[in-house]
Every structure is written in C-alpha cells, then in structure tokens.
Amino acid sequence: MLGLNRKDSGLFLLVICLTALAPFLLNPFPEGSELAQFNAGYPDLMQRFMIFGIFAIGFNILFGLTGYLSFGHAAFLGVGSYAGVWMMKLLTVNVVPAIIMSVIVAGLFSLVVGFISLRRSGIYFSILTLAFAQMSFALAYSVLTPITNGETGLQLSLNDPRILGISQTVDGSIPAANFFGIEMRDSLELAMGGWLFTFNAGYYLAAIVMLISFYIAIRIFRSPFGMMLRAVKSNQQRMSYTGLNTRPYALTAFVISGMYAGLAGGLMVAMDPLAGAERMYWTASGEVVLMTILGGAGTLLGPIIGASAIKYFENIFSKINDTVLHGWFSFMPDGLQDFVVAIIHPFIGKGWHLTLGLMFMLVVIFLPGGLMEGINRLRIWFGKRINGRQQAPDHAPATSS
C-alpha cells in the first residue's frame, strides 16, 4: 500500500485506525463513574498527543537515525509557533498558511543552526544546540519583544490587519482559527448510554497531519537515504572512506527534524493561537528527548507512544490528589490507608515530574530500546510460551517496527 511493504502497511493501517477511533478508545469509562478521570478522550489532550507525536517523530529522524543528540529542538517549535501566529495576524485565520509558514521558517532556522552545530559531534554538538536554543529563548524574552511580545506571549488582537480575512467578526470578537471555514474548536458530541464521545475538528486536522508525517517518516526509514543516516550513527569514519559525504546527510536529517518541530509548533498555534517564549526553554527540548527515548529511539512507533504516554501521565497524574487516593483505598483500615496515601502522595499531583524522572531513569537503565523494546520482549516471551519451540525470536534490528 502506498509503496510500503506488507509489514509497514499493516503498521500504518493500525495507526490510522487508532487515531481515527481515538475519541472512542480513549474514553473507555462512562461519564461520572469513578474511573472517568482516566479518560483521555477530550479534544485538548488528544490534540497534544498528535502534536507532540509529530515533534517526537521528527526528533527521532535526527536522534534515532543519526545519533546526534540535540538539546535545542524546542527552539524550532517555538520559532514555528511565532511564525504561525504572525501569519494569522497578518494574513488570515485559516490555519493552512500559518502551518506552512511555521514549517518554512523553522526549516530555515534549523538550516542555519544545523549548519553551524554539525561542525562538531558528540557532546559538543549537544552543547552547541543547547546554546542556540537558550539564546533564542533569551532573545525572545528581551530584544525581540516587538516580534515575540515578550513575557505576555504573542496572540491575536482585534487590530490585526488580516489582509485576506477579517480583523474582527461582526459581533466585535477575534475570528476563530479555521480550516476553510471549519473552526478548530468545533466539536461533535455523541452520547451513548453513559458514555460521552467528543469528535473535535482540530483533533482530526492534527491527526491527518500526524498521519502524513508518520507516513513520510516510514518512507525515510525504508529508503537508502535512511540507511545512510543509520550509517552516520554507526561509523562516520567508514562512511567517508566508502565515498560518502557525511555532513550533508546529517544536515538534511537535522533540517527535516527541525521542520517537523516547526510543524508541531504551527499546529499548536492552529489549535490555540498563542505563542510564548517558554516553549523554547531547554526543558521543553529535554521533554522531546524524554518522549523519544521513553518510546524507543530509532523505532517508527516509539516516539508516538512516548509522546502520548508522557502527555497522558502529565494530565492524569497531575489531576489525582489525596482525596482521590483516599477514595481508592477506602477499603483499607484508616491507619494503613493514611500510610499508603502518604507514600503515593509525592508521586502524584504536582509531584508527577518525580514519577516521570524515575520512569525515565528505569527505561534508560533497563530498557535502552524504550517501551518498544519492552513490547517486543513481551511479544517474544508470549510467542515462546504459546508456540513452544516453533521459531527463534527475530533478532531484527531496532528499526523493525
């Protein structure tokens, strides 16, 4: 299908189905029930799954394939966001030009940063990208305030020209971001029994963009070009003695991942027309590193899984508080209940970063291949148990799925 082999087609179809049915799948618990707080099927969160999925897929093309660890990719996302908001201020609130502009601007910026940073490798490369990102962040807060609107962040206003659209609607408000008339915040709600499903226009736009990005990533992974990128990671010396110029390969991967980051930034703006400098802070760059590693660097599906897992836990864990915990453990005697709640307390609510840090450490220590490696190990383990001695575990390279 679409030039993919059978295995990849299956994978792609699976991802298509999962994203299309996400509003159902992520809302397994009936409204108002005890477990409803674990539902993730609301538009805001689902959009973030897609957007950060794109960000991580792109980052993985750089880090997973070439091994260059960038600690500054949030800068491209931030620059993309600013470019997107400016398009919506100057041109139209249709999200298409905004998204395209985000990708172009982020691509150009990453070309400059990548061209300079890739002159060095290893830790020096990481520090260079970090330095560029921190510089962008500092400048966005200070000198570039006319463009970025400093601490307040850049947003739409009633006085924007919007030469292809309207400055304000008839009733005097800022027009809503839309895709040729379909407003991003439009939702269709479907009540079935105790369940409530929300189908949001913004989510489906983000999902389609994510699927296209994912498809492109598969094609890159399976192309000779992708093979060269893995060769960059494996042995640059052998590559150059084999007649290959490593620099342009790494730079292309860098720019592609920068454009993916810009795309994610543009989509963020499309969902919520606002851009702030904190999106460029180095912890934001660290977050995409976490997502990619957690899911499994160098795998196709890993970054999406990692991004979704982190965004899910960020939302759900930070919502759980002591009252909720007491509710869960109400079956225990009082003393024990307090004890258990006291133990779990630091890991939930505001402390969810602690859980994230621990989870991340455990993955790096025990599962260097991320959650995807865990899934594969489980599959092999179950396969052995079910099939007995039918077949040897496939030692396919980490890029197999």
Binding site: G3, R219, G226, A231, T242, L244
Partner: protein, 251 residues
Amino acid sequence: MSILEVNNVNKNFGGLKALNNVNLQVEAGTVHAIIGPNGAGKSTLLNCFVGRLEPDTGSVTFDGESLLGIKPFQINQLGVSRVFQTPEIFGALTLIENVMIPAFAKRDGAFHMEPWRSVGSEAGLHEQAMEMLSDVGLDAKADELAGQLSRGDKRRLELAMCLVQDPKLLLLDEPTAGMSRGDTNNTIDLMKRIAQRGVTMVVIEHDMHVVFSLAEKISVLAQGTVIVEDVPEKIKGDPRVQDAYLGGAHL
C-alpha cells in the same frame, strides 16, 4: 603504466621524520606489497593516500589526479578503497546493509537523497551485494548485525564492502593480522581471486608467507625511506633488507 605515483613525499611529526623522500610507483593490475620493520612509516604512507594525513611536501597522484588536498570520500569516489588494520564496519547494521551502502555510494555518489525510494525496490543492487557476500563466504549471515561478527569475519566483510565498489585501487593494511593459519590461507586465496580480476592492490603486511605468495613487487620501507624496491625473488636475498629488519646484525 603506473596507476599510483608517489613522489618525494615527506612527513614530519614534531621532530620525527616519519616519511623521508618516499618515491613509489604502483603498476596497474599488480599486487604491490610494502614491508618493513615496525615504525618504518608504512601506515603513515597509506594514510597519505586516503586523505587521512597530508604530506608536508611531495605529490601523490592516482590515475593522473592528485590525491592531496581532497577529502577521504572524494578519494574513494575516484576509485580508491581501503581495508583498515582494525576492521571499520557499520556494527549496528546488518551485513547486507553494510555491503549495500558502498554499492549505493558507487552508483549514486557522495550525497544522494530520494527518500521516496525504498531499499526493498533495489533488487539489482541487493543481488550484487549478496553475490559479494557469498564471495567472501558470509552470505548465510546476511541478516545478522555486523557488530556481532568475529574479528576474522569482520575483516572479510570489510573486504566485501570494498570489492562491491569495484575499486581501481585497493589498499590493505595488514589484512591477515591476528588470523589463524587456516584463515590466513583462505584470505590469500580470496586476494588471489581479486587480483585475477585485475584490481590493483597495495598491501602492507608483516607475514612474509602472505607477502611472497601474493606480491608481484615489494617495496621495503625503513626509517621513512624506501630502501629497496624489487620483485620478491630478489628481495629475499637482499642484504639491505636483512639489515633493515635485524638492525645490522648479519646472519
């Protein structure tokens, strides 16, 4: 006709004269061995051919083009492939990928980007790589990761990676170092087959058995200078060679 010409090459490291007015002509289609005691400058000389080191003075020309001042990948694109003393392979990739990469480099050049084409659609190239793997006896392991191979297998893989490019000049740095007798003999056979195809080879080697079964011409390097260059039969009895190896203690 000589395909590789080295004229008056000098290289200093600090105060040490590693290469002192080295002159060398390698005839096309021959196997040319460079021997000499440790520290004679053999590897330094080889490094000057592939762009890893830049000589202080002198010239290195290959097929009429200068090899100085250009990058390793450009030298390879001219038709020079190199096997390293410690095998340099893509450890994280499978054997077949290891051999396909140089084939792509040969066909598509130093940088080529067509992300919409898939590796799976490159049947011709895949077949060529498989043939090369079976030539060196590694076809059964085509889908294994190269990093897991034994040292001897890695060396054969590296040879296959060079051969798939059909090089005009093949540089080998101690191709049998650390090999067992049996493996060494297999490698000699393999290299003889390569030589029969007309590939020019420059071999650095310590093992005289290998040198004398392969080389058509031998240059002896000592203290950075070529002291003798001749056919194997004459080298064997040359007192200057014994001198260089044994430091003056005549046998």
